[in-house]
């Protein structure tokens, strides 16, 4: 357990949630539509998001990862199987599981500060402590200068940091991120990797991160879950035992990282070959990509 380094001047703000929580997904399936037109997106999928760990889920684009997030966040219910958090089943959305979507969901009509304060105000907890935390978080994500600006005035990277602050003020037990850095240009993407990793290492909250980018997965993950193509299942789990804090440079230099990268690629490729008959355009695109590379 690393000791959080105190900035003497700043008020000590307890960001780490009291208990460390864990999500268990057990034999979950999700089917859309009915009868002959039923479409099975998730089939008998089981995995665990371990507490105080950064679990990354990787799988081909269009393989139903986002549906899993909808189930874990409680916006939809599984057709069969069960998802529990610390033992009790998940029934609906709650502030213990907050999601960062692929496109920014900052409210464009609220300034950065009002966005961050939305959670506490919505729950009627907008006291002195909340405003203090909001200011602390604004400084923490380096957006004090953009406090009263509207989201359209912020760059992609800044919007992501503001959204992180908006989630963290509610002290979620689990942060869920759905390919949050996909739209950013590569420079900001790598800067956000480092930023997000340091944020995680500071309080070691349970985080669940979805991506299609292998380098991103290896740089961030403690545990890497590799998913099959449609219908999605957890295929394989790899422990990423590269010590933290990690440097982007050593992702390509570090031999262990290279081995993991090769292993992940072969697994994802196998998946693509199996489900190509499924005919979904996303899979076809993916396999087309792989078949060229494999030879």
């Amino acid at each position: 357990m690393n000791t959080m380094n105190q900035e003497a001047a700043k008020p000590k703000v307890e960001l780490r949630s009291q208990n460390s929580s864990e999500i268990v997904v057990k034999n979950v399936s999700k089917v859309y539509g009915g009868g002959p037109f039923a479409k099975e997106v998730i089939k008998d999928c089981s995995f665990t998001i371990e507490s105080n760990k950064l679990t990354v889920m990787i799988g081909p684009s269009g393989c139903g990862k986002s549906t899993l997030i909808q189930l874990i966040a409680g916006f939809e219910t599984p057709t069969s199987g069960e998802i529990t958090m610390n033992g009790s089943p998940i029934t609906g959305p709650g502030k213990d599981r907050l999601v960062l979507f692929q496109e920014s969901a900052l409210f464009p009509w609220m300034t950065t500060y009002d966005n961050i304060m939305y959670g506490p105000r919505a729950r009627g907890e907008a006291g002195k402590e909340a405003t203090e935390q909001a200011d602390f978080l604004l400084a923490k994500v380096g957006l004090e200068a953009f406090r009263d600006k509207y989201p359209p005035q912020l760059s992609g990277g800044m919007q992501r940091r503001a959204e992180l602050a908006r989630a963290m003020i509610n002290k979620p037990e689990i942060m869920i991120l759905d390919e949050p850095f996909r739209g950013l240009d590569n420079m900001s993407k790598e800067l956000m990797w480092k930023y997000y990793a340091s944020l995680y290492e500071e309080d070691r909250n349970t985080n669940f991160f979805i991506t299609t980018d292998i380098d991103e997965a290896i740089f961030l993950a403690d545990r890497l879950i590799i998913m099959t193509n449609l219908p999605t299942q957890a295929r394989h789990v790899i422990e990423i035992d590269i010590p933290r804090p990690r440097l982007i440079g050593d992702i390509s230099a570090n031999q262990r990282a290279n081995d993991i990268k090769k292993e992940v690629m072969t697994l994802l490729h196998e998946e693509a070959m199996k489900s190509f008959s499924g005919g979904s355009k996303a899979a076809a695109d993916f396999l087309d990509a792989y078949s060229k590379r494999a030879e």
Binding site: P60, S61, A145, F146, Q153, L154, S155, G156, G157, M158, R182, D185, N186, M187, S188, E190, L191, T212, D213, I214, D215, G249, S252, A253, N258, L268, K281, A282, A284, D285, F286, D288, A289, Y290, K292, R293, E295
Partner: protein, 287 residues
């Protein structure tokens, strides 16, 4: 299918076309009175047939440079030559768009209302130099060559974004351009599909030996594709460092894990990140 180097020597001997010379170009925008300099005394010399990668933070004015070469808007001062023929300069501030310099746009510009085949034949049909039959035969063979047979009659909206991208490159090549201008074409694709698009592009390049002026902010993409990297400063953009990529062609994906590749990455990364940090702090919005 390892890509066989196109050793057709005839194209080597013919004067290598498509050499671009950009000399001391400045571009100042004037949105409602506040003069904003986008390009600051930029000089680049690109020999014919070379893949030249322009790398820089978003919003630094790279696209402005591309638009000036393509002739979509003018420049404030300086000169741009194509094979020693003045495109734009003193007296003629804006170049004339033409089929010798064809742009592949960031979000793609296939005409959604025309089938893939109609898109590919559009250029030659407009110029009317060849007969209709010759154009269609050439189009069908080039599409088959790029692995697009079977998608001729579907509309762009019905095929995947990766496939649309390849149709657009084939459409560009139908006019036998001297230069292909790419404006971050693979930005929206997920990293896996992107890697294969790179190989498809190189494949087409080896067969057609056209000069490529390629804008990107993805350093890995730049080193994998390019003969040379021009790293630009943040706004207003100005060449800051040139990196020669001496990895031999034809290249395939194993290059990415080769030690030489990593050395080049380190060499370029320092400069690129410095510029990106400046853009990042200045709150530079996406390019």
């Amino acid at each position: 299918m390892s890509t066989v180097m196109n050793t057709d020597t005839s194209s080597q001997k013919s004067a290598i076309k498509g050499a671009i010379r950009i000399e001391d170009v400045v571009k100042v925008y004037d949105p409602d009175g506040a003069a904003v300099m986008a390009v600051d005394h930029c000089s680049i010399d690109i020999p014919g047939g070379e893949i030249c990668m322009i790398v820089g933070p978003s919003g630094c004015g790279k696209t402005t440079l591309l638009n000036a070469i393509a002739g979509f808007h003018g420049i404030t001062s300086g000169e741009i030559y194509l094979d020693d023929e003045l495109l734009c300069g003193p007296g003629k501030m804006q170049a004339e768009p033409g089929s010798d310099r064809i742009v592949v746009f960031q979000n793609g510009a296939l005409f959604p209302w025309k089938s893939n085949l109609e898109n590919v034949v559009f250029g030659p049909m407009m110029e009317g130099k060849l007969s209709k039959k010759e154009i269609y035969d050439k189009a069908l063979s080039m599409m088959a060559d790029a692995g697009l047979s079977g998608t001729e009659n579907s509309f762009p909206g019905e095929v995947s974004s990766g496939l649309r991208r390849r149709v657009e490159i084939v459409r560009a090549l139908m006019n036998d351009p001297k230069v292909l201008l790419f404006d971050e074409p693979y930005r929206a694709l997920d990293s896996l599909t992107k890697s294969v698009m790179h190989e498809a592009l190189l494949d087409i390049y080896y067969k057609n030996k056209v000069t490529i002026f390629f804008i990107t902010h993805d350093l890995e993409e730049a080193i994998f594709l390019g003969h040379r990297l021009i790293i630009m400063s943040s706004r207003p953009c100005k060449p800051k460092k040139v990196v020669e990529v001496d990895i031999p062609h034809p290249r395939d994906y194993s290059v990415l894990t080769s030690p030489r590749f990593r050395e080049l990455m380190e060499e370029a990364k320092g400069v690129v990140h410095e510029e990106a940090k400046k853009a990042f702090e200045a709150g530079e919005k996406e390019g």
